[in-house]
Symmetry: C2
Subunit: 284 residues, 2 copies
Amino acid sequence: MKKNWFFETDNVVSDLRVGYRIKRKIFSKKTEFQQIDICQTDKFGKILFLDGLTQASERDEFIYHEMMTQVALMIHGSAKKILIIGGGDGGILREVLKHKIEEAYLVEIDNEVIEASQKYLSTISKNSFNDKRVKVYIENGFNFVKQYANYFDVILVDSSDPIGPAKELFSSQFYKNVFKALKKDGIAVFQSGLTILQKKELKSVYEKNKKIFPIVKVYYASVPTYLVGDLGLILASKKIDPTRISKKTLDKNYKKLNLGTKYYNPEIHFAAFVLPNYLKDALR
Amino acid sequence: MKKNWFFETDNVVSDLRVGYRIKRKIFSKKTEFQQIDICQTDKFGKILFLDGLTQASERDEFIYHEMMTQVALMIHGSAKKILIIGGGDGGILREVLKHKIEEAYLVEIDNEVIEASQKYLSTISKNSFNDKRVKVYIENGFNFVKQYANYFDVILVDSSDPIGPAKELFSSQFYKNVFKALKKDGIAVFQSGLTILQKKELKSVYEKNKKIFPIVKVYYASVPTYLVGDLGLILASKKIDPTRISKKTLDKNYKKLNLGTKYYNPEIHFAAFVLPNYLKDALR
């Protein structure tokens, strides 16, 4: 491929290849777990790639990070203990810290993602790793969550795709452990693949969770650099239904918290759970 | 680029290049107006490219064609005379013909798009061009619409991008002519570019129409093969507000019509008009 282009690997959507014109490669390293690349582009700002796949761009990371975080935290209303699995770029952490929480645990398998992100993508983490409420664990997320029972209010699983180091995070056993680690009104959110091209993966996460949690809902975020189409997210909840929460309460809390979100708002909250017919059919 | 790949031209999003692995090229011709290519892929079925840019894939064309058509036709409720500008692949025509209309005019500048689509993309047009209610005009859409006053209930503008043969379809004069060609409760829909990367274009269509129509709303459709992100659509209406129509009426009509839509449903109708903060800000 051309010299000034970074082409994604094509192991997710094998008929499609996406390339970014890059101004320069800022960081490139093969770690124990994966290949990390950070490239500077003109239109998308800096982009973080793991194993050749886009994880976050400065231009649109807010969409994914807000939607992964704010939906669960807003419906919970008083979450104090948060667990983030993955999320080494710090974007979800930044969103979590906008709330009055006590502890945010971030469990990342690959320390080098955190180091490179802090160094080169500070626009995303915004100094969040230095917040006193944050505890970072360099560990396998699957093993970490096993040790907890009735402890977290919200667990956010910012995994990469079901291939590579994140594979275990798509297993029924993992979802059971997440259930156990959550308090009685706890909520978990799982990144679950592209709605149109990874329907099977989405359905699999949905069905596995349906056997464990009383409330499981699919919602989506349209993140431009996560080609192709919408990213499906799954919210699994012990008690609170994200689609039945009072709009008034949500509006009030949203105003009070002054989150400064660029994508999320209470109307988007409800709209994100509205599924097109093809997805409803796929989940049936 | 590699032999078995078709790479989009990069004149829309110059930092990004998208390539499709193709099984074979089915049709390729430089016409008086543009370069037409139809390629067979595995994951996306056949794809139609105009001047090297994806127009429709068999896999996801339903999203764009339903959202371009059903939102306006459903809120109108009794549209009889429809004008489609562009849309030579017949996808919008197919959606229009699901309603009890009297006449559907399709005005396409390039006859070869219609011919190639009828021959190779009949999964999209579904024999619609043979319907007795359909009148096809091979003409410039800008000039065509000028000749009409108070005639159409709904006008759907399925243009390509504001460069190339569709340029005039993004001018204030065109929107004025559309207004004049519509009856007193008429509705128009304009394809208006990608929400995050073509914000300026979207805003321009929005503002031009705001000076002409009393009701102008932005909504969006997430079409995977229209990388990157959501496609912005603009609905301009003389009387009916698409966000204030009764949900009950919409539900009732939707059931009665039995449209067989794979994306559109009455909940999606309202959700599509809910804008994230960054878009609200951009349109302010």
